[in-house]
C-alpha cells in the first residue's frame, strides 16, 4: 500500500482507480507531491482537503485533461497515459464549474454527448429517458437547458457523465452552489449510482455531506495523502482524541473539576452552557467515564460527540500536518 498514513487497503486488483506517486507542478507551485490513492471498486470515495490541496488537479489528471509530471494512474487496471482512449470510455467526469449549451433542449444536450461518446443511436433515446428519470428531470426532456435552475443543471451535468455508462465517476464538488434540498437530492442520486455498481470519487468541502454518503475517504493536504481508508476504520482509529459534549444540571465549574479528575479526560472546557471534554480511550472507556461522573453526583442530561466526527478528524489531521 502506497501513500503515507493509509489504513490497510484491499489489494490492487480490487481497486477501480489507483494513483501512484503523482506529481504535478504549475510554474513554482507544487500541486501534487507524490500522491498515491486507492479507490476500491464499487465505493463512494470522498476526496477531502482544504483549498489548494490538489483535489481538482488529481481529478483533471484522472479525466485525461492533464498529464502528471511523474507517477501513474490506473483505471480498472489500465494505465491512463498509455491507453487514454480506453480510459476515457470508463470515466465520467463532472468538473467543479461547467457550462451547458443553452440553445439545446435537455434531450438534445444528452444526445449530443452520447453521440460524442459514440453511443449507438438506437440506444440513445431509451438511455436518455432512463437517465432523466434517474436525475429527476424526466418532465424537462423537451425544455431548453437555459430554462433550468442551477440545481437542475448540476443534475443534468451528472446525467451527462453517465451517457456512455462509465464505470467510474469523478465528481468535483458536485453540490457546490446548491441549496440544501438540492444537496440532499444529489446525495441520494450518488448513493443510487453506487447501488448501480458505479465507483464514485467525489470531492467536497462539506464534510458532513461526505460522512453521510461515502464508504471511504482520502484526506489530502499540500498535494500529499494524509489518511485514507473506510470511513468507519478511520473514525475508530482516531477516537483516541475525540471531544465529548456533556450537558448537565447544576454548577458547571464544580462539574468541570469532577470531570477533569477522571483518568480518561485530558482537558475540559465550558462551551455554550455545557462541558466539552477531550477524551482518550475506546468506546468502553466512554461508558466508564459517563458512569464515573454520574456516580460522582453530576446530573448529566446530554453525553454525545461534540462535533461532526469527520469534520473533527479533518481538522485534527490537517492541523497536525501543518504543525
Amino acid at each position: 500500500m502506497s501513500g503515507n498514513g493509509s489504513v490497510a487497503a484491499p489489494p490492487a486488483a480490487e481497486m477501480m482507480l489507483r494513483t501512484h506517486e503523482l506529481r504535478k507542478s504549475y510554474a513554482r507551485t507544487r500541486a501534487l507531491d507524490g500522491l498515491s490513492i486507492n479507490v476500491p471498486r464499487g465505493s463512494i470515495y470522498g476526496f477531502v482537503g482544504p483549498n489548494g490541496a490538489g483535489k481538482t488537479t488529481t481529478m483533471r489528471i484522472m479525466a485525461t485533461l492533464l498529464l502528471p509530471d511523474a507517477g501513474e494512474v490506473w483505471v480498472d487496471g489500465q494505465p491512463l497515459t498509455s491507453n487514454t482512449s480506453a480510459v476515457r470510455n470508463k470515466i465520467g467526469y463532472m468538473p467543479d464549474f461547467f457550462g451547458v449549451y443553452d440553445n439545446l433542449t435537455v434531450a438534445e444536450y444528452l444526445a449530443f454527448y452520447a453521440s460524442a461518446y459514440r453511443v449507438p443511436t438506437a440506444e440513445t433515446r431509451h438511455m436518455i429517458g432512463e437517465l432523466l428519470e434517474l436525475v429527476d428531470l424526466g418532465s424537462k426532456r423537451d425544455e431548453l437547458v437555459e430554462g433550468l435552475s442551477r440545481g437542475m443543471k448540476q443534475r443534468l451535468g451528472l446525467a451527462r457523465c453517465l451517457v456512455h455508462n462509465p464505470q467510474v465517476l469523478l465528481l468535483d464538488e458536485p453540490a457546490s452552489g446548491m441549496d440544501p434540498r438540492a444537496r440532499v437530492e444529489m446525495r441520494e442520486i450518488v448513493k443510487e449510482l453506487q447501488r448501480l455498481g458505479k465507483t464514485v470519487l467525489v470531492s467536497s468541502h462539506i464534510l458532513l455531506e461526505l460522512s453521510e454518503m461515502c464508504s471511504h475517504i482520502g484526506i489530502i493536504q499540500g498535494g500529499r495523502l494524509i489518511r485514507e481508508g473506510p470511513v468507519g476504520v478511520i473514525l475508530s482509529s482516531l477516537k483516541a482524541a475525540r471531544t465529548v459534549r456533556i450537558g448537565l444540571l447544576g454548577d458547571l465549574d464544580a462539574a468541570a473539576d469532577t470531570v477533569k479528575r477522571q483518568r480518561w479526560v485530558t482537558d475540559v472546557q465550558i462551551v455554550d452552557g455545557a462541558l466539552e471534554a477531550a477524551v482518550s480511550g475506546e468506546e468502553q472507556d466512554l461508558a466508564d467515564l459517563l458512569h464515573a461522573i454520574v456516580e460522582a453526583g453530576v446530573r448529566v442530561v446530554q453525553f454525545a460527540p461534540a462535533s461532526n466526527s469527520l469534520e473533527e478528524i479533518f481538522m485534527q489531521l490537517t492541523e497536525s500536518e501543518e504543525s
Binding site: 485525461t64 485533461l65 467526469y93 468538473p95 461547467f98 440553445n103 439545446l104 460524442a116
Partner: protein
C-alpha cells in the same frame, strides 16, 4: 462527415429559428439592390459592346461586395468556435469524450463555414444575371466562386487557429478581424510597395511574393477586366508555371492546411494527453 457529433450539433443550433433565413433573405436583397443600381446607371444595354461592359462591371461589383462579406463574416463564424467553448466552460467536457482533436476541429470549422458557404451559394442566381449581358465566361464565373470558397476556408481556418489560444470570444473575434485585414488590405499595401520597389529596380513584371498570399490579389486576377489593369495573368511562378490565380489558390489552400494542423495541435491544454 455528418456523423461528426460537433458538426451535427452546431448545424442544428445555428440553423434553428428564423434568424438564419432572415439574414440570407436580407443579403440576397442587398445584392439585388446592387444589380438594380448598376443597371440604372449603365449606358444603353442594347449596344453590344456596352452590354458586355455592363456584364463585366456588374460581375465586378457583385464580386467586390461578396468578397467584403467574406472578409467580415468568415472571421466571426469560427473565431468563437473554441474560445467560446472555453469561455462557456464546456471545452473540458468536450475533450474528455471519445472525440479526437481532429474531429472537434473539423466539426467546428465546417459548421462555422457552412453558413458562409450557404450565403455565397445563395448569391449564384443573382450573379448569373451577368450572362444576360455577356462579357463574362463560365470559367471566370466558376473561378470566382472557387476564389470565394477558398478565401472563406483560409479566413475561417485562420480564425479557428486564433480561437484555440484565446480565452475570450470577444478577443478572438477582434484578433481574427485584425489578422484578416492584415492578410487582405495589409498585404495589398505591402505588395504594392514591393512592386513599386521592384519596378524602380528595373523588374516591372515581377509579382512580389506577398501577392501570392493575398486573397484580394486572387480576386483581381479572376475578374474579367484584370487584363486592362496590368495583365495579371502574365505572372507565373513555380515549376508548373501556373497562373497567378492558380498559385494564389494553392497558397491559400496550403495556409489553410497549416492553420488547421496548428489548431489540432493547440486544442488540448498544454500538458494534456494528445489525441
Amino acid at each position: 462527415m455528418y456523423q461528426n457529433a460537433v458538426l451535427r450539433k452546431e448545424l442544428t443550433t445555428r440553423m434553428r429559428g428564423w434568424r438564419s433565413s432572415l439574414v440570407i433573405i436580407a443579403y440576397v436583397t442587398v445584392l439585388a439592390g446592387i444589380v438594380l443600381l448598376q443597371l440604372s446607371t449603365s449606358a444603353d444595354p442594347q449596344n453590344l459592346s456596352d452590354s458586355a461592359r455592363l456584364g463585366q462591371s456588374l460581375f465586378a461589383a457583385l464580386a467586390g461586395f461578396q468578397m467584403a462579406l467574406v472578409i467580415f463574416v468568415a472571421p466571426a463564424s469560427t473565431a468563437d468556435a473554441i474560445s467560446g467553448e472555453r469561455q462557456r466552460q464546456t471545452l473540458d467536457l468536450l475533450l474528455v469524450t471519445g472525440l479526437s482533436s481532429r474531429a472537434i476541429i473539423f466539426g467546428k470549422l465546417f459548421a462555422g463555414l457552412a453558413y458562409d458557404v450557404l450565403l455565397i451559394l445563395s448569391s449564384i442566381p443573382l450573379f448569373s444575371l451577368v450572362f444576360l449581358f455577356g462579357g463574362v465566361g463560365p470559367s471566370q464565373f466558376v473561378d470566382l466562386f472557387v476564389t470565394f470558397l477558398i478565401t472563406t476556408l483560409l479566413i475561417g481556418s485562420m480564425s479557428l487557429f486564433i480561437s484555440t489560444f484565446t480565452r475570450r470570444s470577444g478577443a478572438a473575434v477582434v484578433l481574427s478581424m485584425l489578422a484578416t485585414l492584415g492578410l487582405t488590405v495589409g498585404l495589398v499595401i505591402v505588395t504594392l510597395l514591393l512592386g513599386a520597389a521592384s519596378s524602380a529596380a528595373g523588374n516591372p513584371n515581377t509579382m512580389p511574393f506577398t501577392g501570392y498570399f493575398d486573397p484580394l490579389v486572387g480576386l483581381v486576377a479572376v475578374l474579367p477586366f484584370s487584363q486592362d489593369i496590368g495583365s495579371l495573368d502574365h505572372f507565373t511562378a513555380g515549376p508548373l508555371h501556373l497562373s497567378l490565380w492558380q498559385d494564389q489558390m494553392l497558397a491559400n489552400l496550403l495556409m489553410s492546411a497549416l492553420f488547421i494542423a496548428g489548431s489540432i495541435r493547440l486544442l488540448r491544454p498544454k500538458g494534456a494527453p494528445l489525441r
